[in-house]
Symmetry: C2
Subunit: 351 residues, 2 copies
Amino acid sequence: MNRISRDGFTTAVMFRPENIFYSTAFWGEAVAICTKDGTKLFVPELEVSRAEAESHECEVIPSQRGKGLIKSLFPSLYNTKACSDCNDFLLANAIHSKVDKGNFVCDCEPFLIVRSVKEQNEIDRIIEASHILDKLYQTCLEEIKVGVSERTLQAQLICEATRLGGSIPNYPYTLNPFIIAAGSNGSFPHAEISDRCFCDGDLIVVDLTIRYKGYISDATRTFGLGKVSDDKKKAYGIVKMSQSQGLDAIRPSIKCKDIDLVCRNYISKRGYEKNFIHSTGHGVGLEVHERPWIGPENDDLLQDNMVITIEPGIYIESKFGVRIEDTVVINGEKSHNSNAITAFTKDLIII
Amino acid sequence: MNRISRDGFTTAVMFRPENIFYSTAFWGEAVAICTKDGTKLFVPELEVSRAEAESHECEVIPSQRGKGLIKSLFPSLYNTKACSDCNDFLLANAIHSKVDKGNFVCDCEPFLIVRSVKEQNEIDRIIEASHILDKLYQTCLEEIKVGVSERTLQAQLICEATRLGGSIPNYPYTLNPFIIAAGSNGSFPHAEISDRCFCDGDLIVVDLTIRYKGYISDATRTFGLGKVSDDKKKAYGIVKMSQSQGLDAIRPSIKCKDIDLVCRNYISKRGYEKNFIHSTGHGVGLEVHERPWIGPENDDLLQDNMVITIEPGIYIESKFGVRIEDTVVINGEKSHNSNAITAFTKDLIII
């Protein structure tokens, strides 16, 4: 609320579950209205008792769903200057038909900016999620064998992650929660899980995201199986060094695009410019992808206690892919080795 | 496209992955523009080769992400009358700054209406997802024991579902993919998974959604463990009969609200009116919750080949919950017993 009020707003109105959780510790179907006098949490009847049990320092207000819910918000929206994460076209128009646009500003960015710099208790949970990831990569060493399918490995990893207290974040653009992409499937950065079995000579990209008590860690390792060819080993070595140089470059006040440039230049100079087909990384926290964006056009500056990924890759169409990714806490006092909170080795392991 | 053009539009512009998948068989980060001359699929560079491999009858057009993507759409939006599922406030405003509002209408409903009546190949996949659910409930019989936790059971079920080719749908308002709610947790319809262990005397609500080749089935069973008290058995019997009467009432051309009323009346007349705190069901398909809505205020008519859930429940605060849910294909020719495509028994099983 402090950050929002610095921008001259008296009220924050939140519709997105991530922002509501950030403000109230309740993750569910709700709307939160926050002023200096406290937070009101409007929830449909089916969520009232859970919201009362799980939310912190809120007044829980039972309300209807849909149009009825919006009606119940209006009394709290008159005579305020509100900033809202509402990015729903119809909903925003409905509210703007009753409340002046200048007094109900739809802008997600202030919320994302606040969330981009983490508190210690948030970092602690991201570290816990990273520990789960480290265990899952250890499991990969045991489970990856010739003849085992991508789908079977995914099942094993999800089972273990869930047992360890992790859950699977929502990512709307894939049907499967993990990316496990063997051989030519690895050339798709966002490959879907298939029934393809691991073969001798494969590189296998394993990109895992795990949520722990709300907070996400994101990492990728690429494993080799059997007789891995020299061109694959060469690409692996380049990605590994690119990622390492990206980590080394991280410090408070560096521009995001300069981190991207470090990773990209290393790959480009070795002839793979056209094979690194995505940005270098992204912030991570309550969402898999959030501020700051570590891409070639972003002038934003890194700050202490931001949490980002560094994940360069090389993708050779119809042949293979390599990606190596860590989740990193920006902390001016530490070297990158302690910042990268996924500890599992980045040496090429050939199983 | 036929339905959209009946409303006088020449072009459909799709941003939501469900609608893009429906039109192109590609699930990913993309924008689809569909006219009578064919479909253009605009995808960021990292998704191009996957889109080319997975999409059907599309021209795949490599484009940038974010603002660059929007720019590349404009040439296809001039001199058309487009209907779009765009419900993003900033994006809609950006497009409306260049294209007349009347020629770029933001309205998700036509897309949801088309998707609400399923083709046979969609129904077949929902039936496959239901078969997976039946196997998971069989697993529950083996795994539910005193001392096993909700979290452990979830891990086991996710593992099995994933092995069987299922994946976990995104539902934004819970952190866990399944609802497994034992004892007093069962009184929260959208309970989160916890480390609570099953105890003698518990009712255990197990609400599972599984996606198979894109399409979702949704079901709930409530199990008893050990010495289940008479008040729990009584509530179970009422929910079971309410659900059965709801299924019996299903036929083409009945109003959605009349189905809701059948289930609700049965429960209300037995004194539990205040304990059935959600609507009776919802459509299911590419999303867990989609048209039609089986709630008390919906005058929409059921039609053949719609797929819906029927899921009445009774929730006793701080004590227990009961919910029984099937996914059902509306088919005028069949009795409800063959329409309810989850086959697992709805008798109270006491483990």
